[in-house]
């Protein structure tokens, strides 16, 4: 009889440690949707560049600005969807959306991401845009790995994959676009589906 109580103690300890230090209400569905937005956004960018820009991008051209707008829209929609679905899941789990764990998660996610974003803007303004896709993947991957300590551990693996794809993209800038599609589009959908069935069900 007594050992059952101790077992309960131990599982309660584990549960409290997880609940108090990790934000576990990330929604898998939002990953699937973010990947879908990325694929649609990439298709639009591809269409713009091949039809109106003869397959090349000029940094101060109108098409380039449209592609940037397209990219910002993808990021914006992904973030909004993520927030809405995660809030919904947090409510279902009976946890708060904005508490110490989610704050820590967001801060640790943003540090590599913002540093990388600024770096990309700086080299873009210097006219070097061949590596943009690869750098986005690398810094996004680093942000995921850094944030994984404060959420469900699996995010780490998505981070590793993004970093590897990013490195390949910087090595072969010609395939940057397709690796970006693979990293931000396909990988998010694969990963989101996996998370959805593993945790949301």
């Amino acid at each position: 009889m007594e050992s059952k109580d101790y077992l309960k103690d131990l599982s309660e300890i584990k549960d409290l440690m997880n609940k108090s230090s990790r934000f576990i209400s990330l929604s898998g569905l939002s990953g699937i949707l973010a990947g879908t937005y990325a694929l649609i956004g990439a298709a639009i960018a591809y269409w713009l560049v091949t039809n109106y820009s003869y397959g090349t991008l000029i940094l101060d051209g109108k098409i380039f600005r449209l592609v940037m707008l397209d990219l910002c829209l993808v990021a914006f929609l992904s973030i909004i969807t993520g927030i809405i679905l995660t809030t919904r899941k947090a409510k279902k789990n009976n946890t708060k959306m904005w508490d110490a764990t989610s704050k820590r998660l967001v801060i640790n996610f943003l540090i590599p991401l913002v540093a990388g974003g600024l770096y990309i803007l700086i080299i873009l303004s210097n006219g070097k845009y061949g590596q943009t896709g690869g750098l986005m993947l690398i810094f996004y991957g680093l942000a995921l790995v850094n944030a994984s300590k404060y959420s469900i551990g699996d995010i780490r693996y998505l981070g590793y994959i993004e970093i590897i794809l990013g490195l390949i993209a910087t090595l072969f800038p010609g395939y940057g676009f397709w690796l970006w599609v693979l990293g931000f589009g396909v990988m998010h959908i694969v990963y989101g589906t996996w998370m959805h069935f593993k945790y949301d069900k």
Binding site: S3, Y6, L16, M17
Partner: protein, 97 residues
């Protein structure tokens, strides 16, 4: 008998074990965070934090955030050591049976 000796009397309560668990994986936690996670009342939580403080297993810092008083807790080296010993003792007890 040696196993029984490692079972720490101070931790012999759900709430105290809970407080220690949370503080082990967080640099610090404030009163409200503990209260929410453990689902307990102010008075109950206060009495248990006091007991842990008296044993010098946790540190208490009182400060003001704006004008609101805020009490935050963190573990001491002693508390961490004792908690680990306690967990090991629990595991051994379970494995034995």
């Amino acid at each position: 008998m040696s196993i029984i000796n490692n079972i720490n009397k101070v931790f012999d309560h759900r709430i105290r074990l809970g407080i220690m668990s949370i503080l082990m994986v967080n640099e610090f936690a404030d009163f409200n965070m503990l209260k929410e996670l453990l689902g307990t009342t102010d008075g109950n939580l206060a009495s248990h934090t006091k007991a842990l403080e008296k044993a010098e297993y946790i540190k208490v810092e009182k400060q003001f955030i704006g004008r609101k008083p805020n009490t935050r807790y963190s573990t001491t080296k002693l508390g961490e050591m004792e908690f680990k010993k306690h967990i090991e003792a629990l595991e051994k007890l379970i494995n034995k049976q």
